[in-house]
């Protein structure tokens, strides 16, 4: 059998631990068999280390590679994509364990580990993920240190301590480079995760959709206002506008249905229909940090005017992003709460769009609508009539009974229990049936104010549906039928609008915000969220604009020379401090005052050609000097005696005398010898 290079035990142990740490965050995304293969390979490698099994031969290795590659290809159905590629990397990372014949191979595994560690940030960039990645780096560094330690090193914790110390020493430099290095745009585009389910409001609404959403506690987005935060009743975050109804499902109008130009308008490419909105009064500017929803639509208050690049305005005056929001997105919007939208009489094709109803659904609602409209006399009175009807004996509930084919009929005159989508849907149906243009708007309502940082936190259970009614001379006006049933939903939040029993259904049992009655827990929750918010804004949101601002603040005027000087200055200071610490630690203690004087005396004699050997004690030295230079005998013996008494007999009071004697002492070279 060939002589096998054995990795140091310490290094192998840390390597396996670090590998486990680097793979752990990927496990939920990985196929189960790959995790199994990993455990199998680890067991094999440990057996090899114990000398029980041998390394696999070339055919076995080839087989493993082929099986893994083929399984990945079949499992994912494709190779190009983020998950298959990461899975491939992990498979290589795992299989390489069986090929660690030499130190070089172990180094390859460790470097692969660093790479794997960075891939986990492609999936999650939250603060805990970053801290965890740093921990992985420490473990990998420990493995690297272990690889360079002697075979017999038996203190594994020392390696980690050293690694942690090294990483800690790197941190200031890391921060400096993070702040100063040019923020490049994506040089290559990483294919986005494709398997991730889209979250938040979807592109259609049927009874029960938003009810389901209300039961999840996930974060939808955070908003920071430049000025004061508007009251809850004005926080209507428009996301989608539904103009088509097929009897059960509300969805967006067909793109081809709009006839006055393209549906999307961008600042570079304005459209004529943008003139249809008139704004007046003051504006609100705010910044939204949106969690990935994997849907393109964004959320804004009515009606948005100025917005960040990459965002377009649609024909129904809401915002969409150029692609599905696959990672956290930050955008700024300026909205005007006072607006008139499409106030001019609607053209025929628009009327057809906004009055569309499926033919043979909900016969009773159609009849009743026409009857009530006639009785009311005007559109405004008819709207009032409808809201009064809702107010009479409807219940706002998270557990509405299921509805059959004629959903509006059954809801309005049968169950009378529903969530916002039932109210909004039936309300718009009744308006359209009476010949009033109306549409359903879906988005979020409200949001919780975080008092620590002064931003709003909008969660999935804030999802809401309401209606817009077109009134002659006023254009589209927001009407929220839910307000007629449960005004608390609009003035406060969802929980206060529901019965105590039902409010338990909002978000999961483990969600922290269920326990907001416990003061300290609530404070902790808010602090944690504020910390995350800061992380997103200051760290993840640190782009070239913020960088330029920071550099201008630090340097006055940003020029390459100044930036270079900053890097050299601050970096040099950081490295200098670390170096100074290392130097100071290794320094010998300062000798005592008496010893310093004696050393001075020895130097004087040495210049006169009488050097002291290191192992020569003072008295012997003095005697030697005395025999060679009788002229110095008296002074040398006196000084030696003083030094001896101070140093070895504890008579410290003699130090000044010694100093004087040494200062007085002169030894010239004896030229006559």
């Amino acid at each position: 059998m060939k002589l096998v290079y054995q990795l140091p035990r310490n290094s192998l142990a840390w390597l396996l631990v670090a590998q486990a740490a680097a793979i752990a965050p990927h496990i939920p995304r990985l196929p189960v068999w790959l995790v199994g293969a990993w455990l199998f390979v680890v067991a094999w490698r440990v057996q090899v280390f114990r000398g029980v099994w041998a390394f696999p031969g070339a055919p076995v290795k080839a087989l493993l590679v082929i099986v893994c590659g083929a399984s990945l290809l079949f499992g994912y159905g494709r190779f190009f994509g983020l998950e298959p590629m990461v899975a491939l990397l992990l498979a290589a990372f795992v299989l390489k364990l069986l090929e660690m014949h030499r130190r070089r191979d172990a180094l390859v595994v460790i470097y692969l580990g660093f790479f794997t560690c960075s891939t986990q940030l492609l999936f999650s960039t939250t603060m805990p993920a970053a801290v965890y990645a740093l921990l992985c780096v420490v473990l990998l560094t420990a493995a690297l240190i272990g690889l360079n330690q002697s075979e017999g090193h038996k203190q594994p914790l020392r390696s980690v301590q050293l690694a942690a110390k090294l990483v800690l020493q790197c941190l200031p430099m890391m921060v400096l480079l993070f702040l100063v290095l040019p923020r490049l745009g994506a040089l290559w585009s990483v294919p986005m995760q494709q398997s991730a389910a889209s979250t938040g409001v979807s592109d259609s609404m049927s009874p029960g959709d938003i009810t389901r959403l209300a039961r999840s506690g996930g974060l939808a987005f955070r908003v920071a206002f430049d000025g004061a935060v508007p009251p809850p009743s004005q926080r209507y975050w428009r996301g989608l506008v539904f103009s088509r109804f097929d009897g059960r499902r509300w969805s967006q109008a067909r793109i081809a249905g709009f006839r006055d130009g393209p549906v999307l308008a961008t600042p570079d490419n304005p459209q004529p229909w943008q003139r249809l909105v008139e704004v007046s009064g003051s504006s609100r500017t705010y910044e939204v940090i949106m969690e990935p929803s994997h849907q393109p639509w964004l959320f804004a208050l009515a009606t948005p005017r100025d917005y960040s690049t990459g965002i377009s305005l649609t024909r129904d005056f809401r915002l969409v992003y150029r692609e599905p929001v696959g990672k956290r997105l930050r955008y700024r919007v300026t909205s005007y709460p006072d607006y008139r939208l499409e106030a001019q009489p609607l053209p025929d094709w628009r009327l057809r769009q906004e009055l569309q109803l499926p033919d043979d659904f909900n016969p009773r609602a159609r009849r009743q609508a026409q009857e009530w409209y006639r009785d009311a006399g005007s559109t405004e009175a008819y709207v009032e009539r409808l809201l009064d009807y809702y107010n009479s004996d409807f219940t706002y509930t998270l557990e509405p009974p299921p509805l059959g084919r004629d959903s509006v009929d059954e809801f309005l005159w049968g169950t009378k229990r529903g969530f916002c989508e039932h109210f909004a849907g039936s309300f718009v149906f009744m308006l359209r049936a009476a010949g009033v243009p109306a549409r359903v708007v879906v988005g979020y309502l409200g949001g919780e104010l975080n008092p620590l940082e002064g931003y709003l936190q909008v969660r999935q259970y804030d999802a809401h549906a309401w209606a817009e009614v077109w009134l002659r001379g006023r254009g589209w006006v927001r009407v929220d039928p839910t307000g007629a049933v449960a005004p608390e939903r609009i003035e406060a939040d969802l929980r206060s609008a529901l019965s105590e029993q039902e409010s338990q259904l909002v978000s999961g049992v483990l969600a922290l915000d269920r326990y907001r009655a416990i003061a300290w827990l609530n404070r902790l929750r808010l602090q944690w969220d504020a910390l995350n918010y800061r992380w997103h804004r200051r760290v993840l949101g640190y782009d070239s604009t913020m960088q330029a601002g920071l550099l201008r603040q630090l340097l006055g005027e940003v020029s390459p020379l100044r930036v270079a000087l900053l890097v050299i200055g601050v970096g040099g200071a950081i490295l200098g401090l670390i170096a100074l610490r290392v130097l100071l630690k290794g320094r010998k203690p300062r000798p005592s005052p008496a010893t310093r004087q004696y050393q001075r005396f020895v130097r004087k004699l040495s210049r006169a050609g009488l050097a002291r050997a290191p192992g020569e004690p003072p008295r012997d030295f003095a005697r030697r000097v005395a025999t060679r230079r009788p002229d110095l005998e008296q002074a040398v013996l006196a000084i030696t005696d003083l030094y001896e008494r101070i140093s070895y007999a504890g008579q410290a009071a003699l130090v000044p005398e010694l100093r004087r004697s040494v200062a007085r002492f002169t030894a010239t070279r004896n030229l006559f010898r």
Partner: protein, 307 residues
């Protein structure tokens, strides 16, 4: 104190001419309550020195000539059945004394050598399951021939470590030897040596050693020396904490013998070869002949003052 020491030295000088330094070292060892090992070629006066020391300290002594057929019972004693009394009676061996002269200790087998272990370390003897205390002031003064001589069983390290000091006598110088030739037989003169110290004085002397002052700077030097023997690659193993303590105790005693109440580096340097040489070993040494050279190396290599 110095007068007392001078008297003792001159008294011993009557039988052992021109060996003042070795005599002082031997006294240091005994005042520091340690056992003494005298190593030299046959006929150099080892036994004479041992005898003279016992005489001058006024202590009761026994002498055992170690031979290859000596057994532990010959040293410790045996129980003999007494017919009249009808029971076993213990007959104490020569070890029950104050000064034990163990002549040519390395000529006996390791089995017999180890009979001394407990006595030297604990001051007691266990025979047939019964522990018997030895008198106060129990000293072993052993002599041995160099290991290179034929018919020797080298003492193991553990046994060597029991001896506080190992000294060598060396040839006498010309004048001393001439005086030896002219004078009467040293064995005759041995009987003329009178005790200079009473047991009470000896006890005071021994406890006075504890009062000698040791400054931090001296401890620094001691630690530098010890560290050197442990770190330097020339040493197979360095000085143990017990060895370092022994060195310090001997340096204190040496300082006391010279009328000083504090230890100076010279004291340490003077006693170090005798105290340490048999406790260290060269990395490439197999017959324990390198100790003195190693100590010399340490003394030259370590700065006395500190850097």
């Amino acid at each position: 104190m110095e007068i007392l020491v001078r008297r003792i030295v001159s008294e011993i000088g009557k039988v052992l001419l021109g060996k003042e330094h070795q005599v002082k070292l031997a006294l240091t060892c005994l005042f520091a309550r340690g056992h003494l090992l005298i190593e030299d070629l046959p006929g150099m006066g080892k036994t004479t020195l041992a005898h003279a020391l016992a005489n001058v300290l006024g202590l009761r002594y026994n002498r055992i000539q170690f031979t290859s057929d000596l057994l532990p019972a010959d040293i410790l004693g045996v129980s003999v059945f007494d017919k009249n009394a009808g029971q076993f009676e213990f007959h104490p061996g020569p070890i029950f004394t104050q000064v034990l002269l163990a002549d040519e200790i390395n000529r006996t087998t390791p089995k017999t050598q180890s009979a001394l272990l407990e006595a030297m370390e604990e001051g007691q003897v266990t025979v047939e399951g019964e522990t018997r205390a030895l008198p106060d002031n129990f000293f072993v003064i052993a002599t041995q021939n160099p290991v290179t001589q034929s018919g020797t069983y080298p003492l193991p390290e553990s046994q060597l470590d029991r001896f506080l000091m190992r000294i060598e006598l060396g040839y006498p110088d010309r004048d001393a030897e001439r005086a030896l030739f002219k004078g009467e037989d040293p064995r005759q003169r041995l009987s003329q040596i009178s005790a200079c110290v009473t047991p009470v004085q000896l006890g005071e002397l021994q406890s006075d050693v504890e009062n000698v002052q040791v400054a931090d700077s001296l401890l620094d030097y001691l630690q530098r020396l010890v560290e050197y023997t442990r770190v330097s690659s020339a040493f197979s193993y360095g000085i143990s904490p017990r060895g370092a303590l022994a060195l310090l105790r001997c340096a204190k005693t040496w300082a006391l013998l010279h009328g000083r109440r504090h230890v100076i580096p010279e004291d340490l340097q003077t006693v170090m070869p005798s105290v340490v040489a048999h406790r260290v070993r060269d990395a490439a040494d197999y017959d324990d002949q390198s100790g003195y050279a190693l100590v010399e190396r340490a003394l030259n290599g370590v700065d006395v003052i500190g850097s």
